[in-house]
């Protein structure tokens, strides 16, 4: 088919626009990598773009030797695993039961579980409840809340419903009970959807920091993103101080400022690199969530 000149111009323009978009998406991250690998005193002179001018590993060494960051890292790995497993257990178990067509009281149970999607008590009643339950300053506050998600349950249930019913029936005829059917047939076949939901949960847990902000004061329970948040805010304060002292003609201790900016960059890269490196290969699982959700509507 022949293309008109206008269409050809548009095609070229479109490709250029998409390249510009990709650069806009990637640049701040690459800039951050460059700064994290650049000498802190050199960074303060400005002008770092996509490559380090004075290469050094020292910012990362600071991160790895910092007690608070390594503790937060291991805690966050533990939380991501524990939360994902807990939530998968509760949600999948419920999804299997809710996939039964002739379950007595199924409608009432569905209503009971769906109402909280529309009405919630909000953050203060939640805070008060957690205090009564002893969840404040407790590692369980990262693991138990969110252990059941109606949305994820629907996703898993829809998948289970799509499995051939004959498999289950013939197993039942052979004398298998519900537990055997669940563990030997349903769970192995549902692995694709369970893996998908597991990824959503793990990334969510990895990126979370507001739970710490709301419910935790104890330093040993800070999550990785929360520590990164503190570094960012702290580096902002130092920048502001620098700006102020510059205004009044004073000199800011350069070391304090440079270290904070470079260490901040290293911390951001360290805490995000596991996700940035893996998401291109796992994205189809995430995309599925968007489209399944849309079909449901």
């Amino acid at each position: 088919m022949k293309k008109t000149t206008g269409e050809k111009i548009f095609d070229v323009f479109n490709v250029i626009l998409m390249i510009a978009l990709s650069i806009t998406m990637l640049y701040p991250y690459i800039n951050q990598i460059a700064i994290s690998l650049n000498d802190g005193m050199d960074t303060i002179l400005g002008g770092i773009t996509v490559y380090p001018r004075k290469f050094t590993w020292v910012n990362y060494r600071t991160i790895f030797t910092s007690d608070s960051i390594s503790r937060a890292f291991f805690l966050t790995v533990f939380i991501a695993v524990a939360h994902t497993l807990t939530s998968l257990f509760v949600t999948t178990a419920a999804a299997y039961t809710m996939s039964k067509k002739d379950l007595p009281f199924k409608n009432a149970i569905t209503w009971f579980l769906i109402i909280p999607m529309y009405i919630s008590g909000g953050i203060i009643p939640t805070f008060i409840l957690y205090r009564y339950l002893g969840l404040l300053n407790n590692v369980l506050v990262y693991i138990i809340p969110g252990a059941f998600s109606f949305y994820n349950m629907i996703i898993i249930r829809t998948f289970i419903k799509g499995l051939p019913a004959s498999l289950e029936e013939s197993a039942m005829l052979d004398g298998a009970n519900e537990a055997i059917v669940l563990f030997k047939i349903i769970l192995p076949l549902s692995m694709p959807v369970i893996a998908t939901v597991a990824l959503w949960l793990a990334v969510g847990a990895w990126n979370s920091w507001t739970a710490t902000l709301y419910y935790v004061n104890e330093r040993s329970l800070y999550t990785l993103q929360y520590v990164v948040m503190q570094l960012i805010k702290q580096s902002d304060v130092l920048q502001q101080l620098a700006a102020e002292t510059a205004l009044t003609g004073g000199e800011m201790t350069k070391e304090a400022q440079t270290t904070s900016e470079s260490v901040k960059a290293a911390a951001i890269i360290f805490s995000t690199i596991p996700i940035v490196l893996t998401y291109p290969f796992l994205q189809k699982y995430f995309v599925k969530g968007v489209t399944i959700g849309a079909v449901k509507d």
Partner: protein, 316 residues
């Protein structure tokens, strides 16, 4: 005789029900954690909304704190600080909703016009990246980008020469709205385009073929076939997003706030956090949150009615 049969049938079904309940006891056991969880973490906190009508004190708790009627709600709507937060919330989020909605749609349309499959796939993958980062990492990256000697100011200085005065726009409250708006677009444009691309891929190809035969240009096809075909998706996404008009992303706003901008840029969510959790004004902030979710629900409800009347598409 008939009545007797009926009674018998009922008895049968009751016996059947009991048998079924017995047979399904393992299944109910599997459901138990979800039900217990939902009861404690959702319904008990819903009960906590009572605090909005009380003068809650920690020692008395919910059961012994005195009721004060609507006093807390009156305070919410008559305190300048809170009214200011309401105003900020409405301004920031309506700009985001009304001006922001077209961006992912435009991206989806442009991606759809790309003929090189591989290039399209790579562009899409890159555009998803910010979605997977936490807001706080995004804030950290952008604070480097907009720093006084960061890339943004370097570019501006190159463009406008020596007369350009370097400013850190993150330290000035008057730039807060554009910062919130554009950072929101940057983080979500790629991810939000997925749903529209999925809708586009569902359009019947025969329509395009027929249009081409009739001599309809590609540009006209976008306006007369693609856009009208994905209109229902656009409308549904829009209605669901209207609920966010009184509910800005806490992580984003809190992340971008700093000593210089915080007071000017307070929104409902950040103020609830500061009043409730930091200062312990439990009843007042519960009332504030209650009013917020009530209004949010009302907005979704009304916009659903309006849009349904206008276009026949709705979420309920």
């Amino acid at each position: 005789m008939k009545a007797k049969v009926k009674v018998k049938a009922e008895k049968m079904s009751r016996a059947e029900l009991i048998a079924k309940l017995k047979r399904y006891k393992f299944l109910y056991l599997l459901l138990l954690p979800a039900v217990v969880y939902t009861f404690i973490f959702c319904y008990v906190t819903m009960g906590g909304l009572v605090m909005a009508f009380q003068d809650y004190d920690i020692i008395g708790g919910i059961f012994e704190s005195p009721f004060v009627g609507l006093k807390n709600f009156i305070t919410v709507f008559s305190t300048p600080k809170m009214l200011h937060a309401i105003k900020n919330t409405l301004v920031y989020s309506s700009v985001g909703l009304f001006l922001g909605t077209p961006f992912p749609i435009m991206l989806a349309l442009l991606l759809n016009e790309l003929k090189l499959r591989r290039f399209k796939k790579i562009t899409q993958t890159i555009s998803y990246m910010p979605h997977f980062l936490s807001w706080i990492s995004v804030v950290g990256m952008l604070s480097t980008f907009f720093a006084t000697y960061g890339t943004y100011n370097d570019l501006m200085a190159k463009m406008f020469g020596d007369s350009y005065e370097r400013v850190n726009i993150l330290m000035d409250a008057k730039y807060f709205l554009p910062v919130i708006f554009w950072s929101g677009i940057w983080k979500s444009i790629g991810w939000n385009s997925i749903i529209y691309l999925a809708a586009i891929s569902g359009i019947d190809q025969a329509m395009y073929e027929a249009a081409t035969v009739d001599g309809c240009s590609r540009f006209k096809q976008v306006f007369y076939i693609t856009l009208p075909s994905i209109m229902p998706t656009i409308i549904i996404i829009f209605i669901m997003a209207t609920g966010g008009l009184v509910n800005l992303n806490f992580e984003q706003v809190y992340g971008f706030q700093n000593l210089y901008t915080q007071e000017e840029t307070e929104v409902i969510n950040t103020l609830i956090y500061r009043m409730g959790i930091q200062n312990g004004q439990y009843s007042l902030s519960t009332a504030f949150g209650f009013a917020q979710s009530f209004v949010s629900f009302l907005i979704v409800f009304t916009s659903n009615i309006i849009v349904k009347k206008l276009s026949g598409t709705g979420i309920w």
